[in-house]
């Protein structure tokens, strides 16, 4: 029972007194009618949520109920047009227009703008991180529209449905209003200051309209009901939209923080099957990100960014910032332009969205008889961003090669690098690049046959151009031929557009071939063969891009550019079969290896019999799929079948435990070898310290041969890189062929290049000074491996301009910078070029011979 104010009672009694005579005349019971009217007034006030009946309310209701007249008077009134129906436009007033504007159009527009631009997601948090959230928020303007239209003259849908739609809109808009509450004042300020900024207020407006429209609809249609259905559905939608986020966060916490190993393993399995990739990606950037995480985050133990990145790789087998995923990620605003955390450091870091490789050219020259080559790779980076940034790339060199030249363009001038100790060059680079923000470039090794190139800074809206020269031996796999693989980009922090091609030109005085159709033969001069092509980045790294060149087995020599009067001689000897006492195959069980499994298994099934062998699958746990035994066809077939099992290749596998297990098996057998067949290892899952310690402490420990099934960054190899026991297996064809080539050396004699320095005139064909650099590279490695004093190896490498594990190459901008960092400014003498000085001399000789021949021919003709 509502309370009436005295004034209200007075108002109503006056009305009753006025209508009483007419009611009596009509045959109605005046007392009953007055009681009915009183209940009606109370009912309306109750629907409005009022606790008190006031005089104005009585007056307003009675006015709406109709004139204080009875049936006779009503019947005499002229009728309204019959065409008037509930919800007709005629019923619409300013209330309806305002309600539709703020309760339907504004939220709908906000949803569309956010869905297409991710405006809020980029600046604050992602309010619609999934299609489930999109569906849920779209129901708010729909529900509001139904209710608003029903206030015009009656329910346009069944009342219970209308009530449910109303509650649905109220609950969801209330939820989003709370989430947007912290930034709602910003919207108000924006409106006051600039006249726009309604979007952050859209949930609040929707909520207000939903409440007001419901009240009006109750007046128009009577009690609506639908509370249980509406609120229930809203809660169900909220849970359904948010549960993947919550479950993923919970599983991430268990996978990282649980002390129980089986719990961690179960959590990883759960994440592989049901985890939200988006949620995991966001955690990799240390961003709570979506709308659910705003409230759910405090309920879970936080997972550190580094752990989240490791976990993401364990679960998916992919790097969290893989280049092909970055675009989608950028659209959510989660890639930063400025990666100060890795600038100047050893990490390549995530791809920078506005930094790209603008052009790339490779110019090479192969000395086929000398079994070596020299290749210059010129790269130009373009920065479209507002901030200067560092370009970083990890490059795979041709097996056994080294960087022997580094050039930076400063304006139009080329500046050459100084080669010095790795620590000194790195320190100079960091001093100049990171602190002084000037233009240096640095190249250091980061694993066997791998280098890290850092160029800093690429100016905002500017370019930076650098060139590295690589001297490398050719792989001699048959008496009359040799092969080489191109250097390739393993990891990078810049984009390579789909239309960016590497312009390749390789020449030799011997015929050269390539399986790639994109590489076209050229014959630029008599006696000079060339191949040219425009190769996509994937093509450059493909085994099919390997070049084959004809050659003769001859002794070659080169003057020693460092020691006057000495020469470097190279001859080819035959090494007897190098059968390992035990070969332990360690197969990476990461998802990236799935496609390589079948050809690898076929190659293993065809391995030669009689070699003691074991095989370990590096999955979530190391699994010995073949204990040590002498191989026969049956056992090899069994190993091949195990490798073919696709379920083995899931997520990202930690290969360190498997390699450690292999080391334990191999350690007791001198002359054993571990063959690690792997995909990219973009994330370090566990430190390699155990492996490094094992190799450091035990002399004569097994060799580790790294056979990369596909190109990609390898953090583990970076860690192991300086160990002389670690070698890479050249990739010159399909993985099966390369595996067979490796095994062939175990059972067959194989050619080997022997280089030595002599202090006399050498016999044989003279070749360029790259031969001397290759000798120096081998000698520096030997010195470093056999002596604790690294200085002789370092000086040797620096004198011959080599980037080795002990040395680096750095280009600074000014001579003063070299002096400040205790480095000698480079001199032009001894810097290699393409073609080599020796080749220029040869070309000049040929031209001279041709000129003489032409003159003689002319004289003969004149005489005739």
């Amino acid at each position: 029972m509502l309370a009436w104010t005295p004034e209200a009672r007075e108002e109503f009694d006056a009305y009753g007194r006025q209508i009483r005579p007419r009611l009596e005349a009509e045959g109605a019971d005046p007392e009953e009618v007055c009681a009915d009217l009183r209940r009606h007034i109370e009912q309306e006030q109750s629907v409005k949520g009022e606790q008190l009946v006031t005089a104005p309310a009585v007056r307003e209701i009675l006015l709406r109920l109709g004139e204080p007249e009875a049936l006779a008077a009503w019947a005499e009134q002229p009728p309204n047009p019959i065409a008037q129906k509930p919800g007709d436009p005629q019923e619409f007033g300013s209330y309806h227009i305002a309600s539709i504007l703020f309760g339907v159009i504004l939220p709908l527009g906000t949803i569309l703008i956010e869905a297409f631009t991710h405006m809020c997601a980029e600046e604050f948090f992602d309010p619609i991180p999934s299609w489930r959230h999109l569906l849920m928020v779209t129901l708010v303007p729909i529900g509001n529209l139904l209710v608003i239209l029903s206030t015009g003259g009656g329910c346009i849908v069944p009342r219970r449905l209308l009530g449910a739609a109303s509650w649905l809109a109220i609950v969801i808009s209330a939820y989003y209003s709370l989430l947007f509450l912290p930034i709602a004042p910003l919207g108000v300020i924006m409106i006051i200051a600039y006249g726009w900024g309604l979007l952050p207020l859209a949930p609040l407006f929707s909520f207000i309209v939903a409440i007001m429209a419901r009240r009006r609809a109750r007046l128009a249609c009577g009690p609506l009901g639908g509370f249980v259905y509406g609120v229930g559905l809203a809660v169900a939608l909220l849970v359904a939209a948010d549960i993947p986020t919550v479950m993923t966060q919970s599983a991430m916490g268990r996978a990282v923080l649980s002390p129980d190993e089986s719990t961690r393993a179960r959590a990883i399995q759960f994440l592989r099957k049901h985890g939200s990739r988006t949620v995991m990606e966001r955690e990799c950037y240390g961003r709570s990100g979506d709308v659910t995480a705003l409230w759910s985050r405090p309920f879970f133990m936080p997972v550190e960014t580094a752990n989240a990145r490791r976990l993401y790789y364990r679960v998916t087998g992919e790097h969290y910032a893989r280049p092909d995923a970055v675009r989608e990620w950028i659209s959510r605003g989660d890639i930063f332009d400025f990666d100060a955390d890795v600038a100047g450091g050893e990490l390549v870091g995530p791809v920078q969205k506005r930094l790209a490789l603008a052009s790339s050219r490779l110019d090479g020259s192969l000395a086929a008889d000398g079994a070596f080559g020299y290749l210059e790779w010129t790269m130009e980076f373009r920065n479209k961003g507002e901030w200067e940034t560092e370009a970083r790339a990890q490059l795979a060199l041709p097996a056994g090669g080294a960087v022997t030249r580094l050039t930076l363009w400063v304006g139009d001038r080329e500046r050459e690098a100084v080669f010095a100790g790795k620590a000194e060059t790195t320190r100079a680079y960091q001093q100049v690049a990171v602190r002084e923000r000037r233009d240096p470039v640095l190249v250091t090794t980061c694993g066997p046959d791998q280098v890290l190139m850092r160029c800093s800074p690429v100016p905002a809206h500017g370019k930076m151009k650098a060139r590295i020269g690589i001297t490398f031996p050719l792989l001699i796999d048959k008496p009359d031929g040799a092969a080489m693989a191109f250097p390739r980009i393993l990891d990078r922090n810049f984009e390579i557009g789909a239309d960016m091609k590497h312009a390749v030109w390789v020449e030799s005085r011997r015929a050269i071939q390539c399986k790639l159709a994109a590489m076209k033969p050229e014959n630029p001069k008599p006696g000079l063969f060339a191949l040219r092509g425009q190769l996509a980045d994937a093509e450059l790294g493909a085994p099919d891009a390997a070049l084959m060149v004809q050659r003769d087995n001859v002794q070659v020599w080169s003057p020693d550019p460092v020691t006057t009067g000495s020469a470097i001689v190279q001859r080819i000897e035959t090494r007897p079969a190098n059968t390992p006492s035990m070969a332990i195959l360690v197969i990476d069980g990461s998802a990236a290896m799935r496609d390589a499994a079948a050809p690898l298994a076929d190659a293993i099934a065809r391995l030669p019999e009689g070699i003691p062998m074991a095989a370990i699958m590096a999955g979530d746990k190391p699994d010995i799929i073949q204990p040590p035994d002498t191989m026969n066809k049956t056992l090899l077939g069994k190993v091949a079948e195990e490798i073919k099992k696709e379920w083995c290749y899931t997520g990202g596998a930690d290969n360190v435990p498997a390699l450690m297990l292999a080391w334990d098996i191999a350690a007791g057998r001198p002359g054993s070898v571990i063959v690690w067949i792997h995909g990219p290892q973009p994330i370090e899952l566990s430190p390699a310290a155990r492996l490094i310690q094992a190799w450091e402490r035990r002399p004569g420990a097994p060799r580790l041969l790294s056979l990369a099934a596909m190109p990609g960054g390898n953090r583990l190899l970076e860690e192991l890189g300086d160990r002389p026991e670690v070698e890479t297996v050249p990739r010159l064809g399909a993985i099966g062929d390369d595996m067979q080539r490796l095994a062939g050396r175990w059972i067959n004699p194989s050619p080997i290049l022997v280089r030595e320095r002599i202090d006399r005139v050498a016999q044989g064909e003279e070749v360029s000074s790259h031969l001397a650099r290759l000798w120096a590279l081998g000698e520096a490695r030997r010195l470093a491996a056999n002596s604790k004093d690294r200085r002789p190896a370092l000086e040797l490498a620096a004198n011959y301009r080599l980037v080795t594990p002990l040395t680096g190459a750095v280009v600074l901008e000014t001579d003063a910078q070299y002096q400040q960092n205790n480095l000698k400014a480079p001199v032009a003498v001894g810097i290699p070029t393409v073609p080599e000085p020796g080749d220029w001399a040869l070309i000049a000789l040929c031209l001279g011979a041709l000129a003489i021949a032409w003159f003689r021919l002319r004289e003969k003709r004149c005489a005739a």
């Binding site: 029972m1 109605a28 019971d29 009953e32 209940r39 109750s46 109920l65 049936l71 009134q77 009728p79």
Partner: protein, 112 residues
């Protein structure tokens, strides 16, 4: 007021009572809802204030019966239902009206 308006007044006077009885046919109805429902019928154009006296008269005539029921979230609710007399009258009224409309339509058909 024209001839058409006069005719409308006469039709409405006769039909409104029939509408109330039909609304209560077969079910009990909460007074507030009943008033809302009838006031929303297009063409009938009855105000809520008009219906309460009419309902009262029908109760006095014994065609409808009422009962009050307490409500936990508002004022007591008054429910209306047809009495036996009301049901009999409704049958007769509907039958009469059907015949009347049918006859009117027949004549209209001939004229068309």
């Amino acid at each position: 007021m024209g001839a058409f308006d006069n005719w409308i007044v006469q039709v409405r006077k006769g039909v409104l009572e029939l509408c109330i009885l039909n609304a209560l046919a077969g079910r009990e109805c909460y007074g507030y809802d009943l008033v809302r429902m009838l006031s929303a019928v297009p063409g009938l154009d009855v105000t809520e204030g008009t219906l309460y006296p009419l309902l009262s008269r029908l109760r006095v005539q014994g065609l409808v019966q009422t009962r009050l029921e307490e409500s936990p979230d508002g004022p007591a609710r008054k429910y209306y239902a047809l009495s036996a007399e009301g049901r009999r009258n409704l049958r007769l009224m509907n039958r009469y009206l059907d015949q009347l409309v049918s006859g009117c339509n027949q004549i209209r058909g001939k004229e068309d």
